[in-house]
Symmetry: D2
Subunit: 339 residues, 4 copies
């Protein structure tokens, strides 16, 4: 029998030691509940330093909550959000953005390799008039790293932001795998969010346990977000446990180290299947065209992964996590190389 | 200088060792994310045994989320929920029930000691006609233990339930301090929820970390709740951490032991102020009439607590947590006895 | 057999000749649909003149829509509206304000004769803290004339407005019977709305057919209201029919003349029952304490009206419409005088 | 100077004599308000006869309200509606379906000539998985006549309905131009709605004034719809005016006669441009490919119409109304024939 090697999702990964230690340290009684603890009090300074500008930081329990609350602060109920047709907010959140915004619409745009461009946005919105009979374009949401495992370069983000700003739109970044993008680009984090109003800063896929952070660069939205968060059941009474996890991730570069490990594994797989990659491999996801029969053979060898694309297409998604054992990666690389 | 003794809120209490150990044990990578782990898989059997009937159990991150999601499953947007005028869902959830239900109304009813009765409900709804111009009564929500630190007896709950059922209403119990009620009554847990459709089973105030459980006794609502939970950003990708906490609480009676410790502290305080209690002390909260100047004197001695009632009324709320040091309780009892 | 005389509601009254003529005149084809017609184009100037300040005027199909859309422009989903406990928005709109606002709450305040005062508002909100765990007070809604058939004097409105402004609240007036208030006070209409952000200007009860007007004095809300109105299905494709009705009402004083006729009938009834009025009679509604058996006797004489207050209280509401035949009023007055 | 001939929209058409007479007849005072009048009372029998099965009929003030309320009765907040990518509910209702449903999603499907087919629906939903992370498919909405001026044959509707039913979806028909479809098909109206749960029965474009009808064939939804309608501000206090209009339309075949007149005009235009029609002309809309410069020439001759398609495409939409003067149609036909 073959040993199981799980490349299905970074959602099943371990929580990393730094996060677990931080949670343990937050166990004792504290002077105050909700966000009144020391950990919560340190978030804004920590992120302000990291992103080199003032921000408000509010932990929530899931990436879906982060995205939906962020969008609710940016668009009115009669507003619209332009996003990629494969964006998580459209295909994987059971309508959370519509729920939290009070019924705003997502307007879907195409884009190669999971990336939007000013041109692809214009194409997606070509038939949108914007008169009173239609929802009003109000925000652009981009995913970094993308759902295709690619990474926007800072110049690409800047071009999108300029396009959005010229039309008065607000800017949201879904950063469920922001750390993987940051590790790939190896530029100052500030350069990654230079034009954003709000970032959903993901931790859980990258070794966190149960907390993501909404990072607001438009401080004028902070009060609104606090009320929306409470009202959404996302303001925990022992908020320190969330804050402590997030602090642990961004202290001493844990988040970048974890992400770099995952990215490296993905690169190893990519090198073994370089002639049949569906998209450039830039983060921790590898999308690969398998041969007929190959999915079954790989699974028989103990490799777990999701089929991708249309039924029978033999496309596969391979996700490497921060803690995927290197030998599991090597074994899969060898299997892929063997075709 | 006096040592601080904190009676402000059980929201600032420690997370208990059993919960912290369970969280640590859930750290390693698992075969599947979301609710696909072993801990999540054991919840329903565990609660089914405890309550002696089938139930669906879905963890969420806060009591507000538990209550609001529960009510959303029970009442339509044009529905109404009868509740006590001091109910947490009305005064402490920033409109979460209205948000999650799509705009249902809470109709407020009076009731001594924080308790509703069939008569007090009738009084609260006396002017409600229920024709098409009004929201439609659809559910009753009661809090166990109540916001006044009192506990409904099973017969009281049964009378309320019969009153509700006779009018076709659904039944919700806000059990943020359900454990304290269960410890006080010392009856089988099943007797406490005999007539309920949904229970918000609280853990966090009672030594939990970051998870509460929605317990559905009407299994026909389970699919709906799963979709609503996802859509609310309350379905975590590493759901095992929530499930593990909840399992730890209900294993080997941890929840009852923690609650009993808190209740005992409250009884100690009550005995020291028995002639000036605002409500019977039955759970872990003590509401006491202080004398003019006494709040200041107590605070000068290091005791922290919230003022209660109207400004200048000298009423105080004293909350004992599962981990409040016995000597802190003794010192406060002595201070109260000294008047 | 006695002739029927209907004092149940001004909702069953005739549409007045001026309104019917205006509707007929709007029948022919026009150059443009929606609000692109001449009638719609004249609304703002007409109301601007009447109220002596710039305003935006958007017709809707019901008073409930007017109120709910107005409030949605004034308060966020996490906001609260202070209103009288008997306000139409609370007891007669099936939760429309909660629906349109995205779940804001109405906080109920007491007040004699259906009127709020700064003191009664403070009393109603005494337990409202306003911290992040609660909805945020955002607007005051008053009803002119009130649900008790009384009329706020301009100084009373000014005092309420000052109280509201001091706390940063917006101001809404439900004017379903605004015309009756205006006719009673006989002051310039501008004096009635001096402090308001939005007025729901009622026409239908006062001889209109199927249109009410939302009058926005805060022009900064106009775009938002246009989008909200469209999205609510309240922007008719042949908008001219609504606009024409409203214009007809405010042209040549039709609205005041109709209301004066209704008010005069109410005064006649009041004079016949002056020793048993429940509230001062100032508009077109008379609330009267009948004697045991009297409701039945009056109905046997052909008078139709609603019982009021608690079952068995023998309280009655008598509504006089703009078109109630004077002899019907005289007959009822005589019957009341006879006890 | 050329005489203006307006082919922009049937929204600017006249209200027809039968409707205006009915409205005038409803002017006098009635025994009861809201839906308590005789006209409202006759709607269900009239439509029940017409469609040969029991139905509930509730007037509303716009087609947007009809569609959005209908969908809200068919899909939950976490539900999805499959519709054509050019459907009015998606592109022309400012998010009303999302607002009224509490945030459900529209999933867009392709289809030639504005028509969906089982195959095109499958294509549109190919990437929709339907697991708990996604909204749940709950209804199909089709437009009859379509946004392209084409008409579904009964067999086409039956095929769509069978496809939908096999998957447990509910069925909605947006019949803003239902009369034009009925006049084109010249079959019993019952055959047009055989499989529907709800029909938005349009009147306004076809000679009505200010009322559309929601026709519910699933009577189990009637209570819900009454509450939703009230709550949406769509239950007018003088409901007789809406009911009278709708009755007038369906009495003595007015609706079919009006529609036939409009359709005939469209056929005349189509015959003059038969070689450059964008879609088959089956209702009262003609979509035509103009030559470069032709739009300007036609406008210079006094013809008003909307450009269609992409900017610079020289596509035009020509709408004929029930009351478009035949000579205006002849003049435009001649102009088109002259190319």
């Amino acid at each position: 029998m073959n040993q199981i090697a799980n490349f299905m999702s970074d959602n099943a990964a371990a929580a990393c030691p730094a996060v677990m230690a931080a949670v343990a340290a937050a166990a004792p009684a504290q002077p105050a509940g909700y966000d009144g603890d020391d950990w919560s009090g340190r978030l804004e300074a920590m992120f302000g330093d990291m992103f080199a500008r003032p921000c408000a930081v509010l932990p929530v329990s899931t990436g879906t909550a982060a995205n939906a609350l962020a969008l609710a602060c940016l668009v009115p109920p009669w507003g619209a959000v332009a996003c990629h047709s494969e964006a998580h907010i459209h295909v994987d959140e059971c309508g959370a953005p519509e729920f939290f915004t009070g019924g705003a619409k997502l307007l879907l745009c195409p884009g190669d390799n999971g990336k939007l461009t000013p041109t692809s946005i214009d194409a997606g919105l070509a038939s949108h008039r914007g008169d009173v009979h239609q929802v009003q374009m109000a925000a652009l949401s981009i995913t970094q790293a993308t759902e295709c495992g690619t990474v926007y370069r800072p110049a690409e983000v800047a071009a999108l932001a300029a396009h959005a700003r010229a039309q008065g739109w607000r800017l949201h970044m879904d950063g469920a795998r922001f750390a993987n993008a940051a590790a790939f680009l190896a530029c100052p984090p500030a350069d990654l969010v230079a034009d954003m109003d709000v970032l959903s800063f993901g931790c859980i896929k990258n070794g966190g346990m149960s907390a993501e952070a909404i990072v607001l660069f438009d401080l004028g939205l902070a009060d609104q977000l606090r009320w929306r968060r409470k009202r959404a059941g996302q303001m925990p009474s022992k908020g320190r446990f969330n804050a402590a996890q997030i602090l642990a991730m961004v202290t001493d570069g844990v988040w970048l180290r974890n992400a770099a490990a995952a990215n490296a594994g993905a690169q190893r797989l990519a090198s073994a299947a370089s002639d049949r990659l569906l998209y450039p491999v830039e983060a921790n996801e590898v999308f690969v065209q398998l041969a007929p029969g190959e999915p079954e053979r790989l699974r028989a060898q103990g490799f777990l992964f999701y089929d991708w694309g249309a039924a029978g297409s033999n496309e596969a998604r391979l996700v490497v996590s921060w803690d995927t054992p290197p030998d599991a990666v090597e074994r899969l690389a060898a299997a892929l190389a063997a075709g």
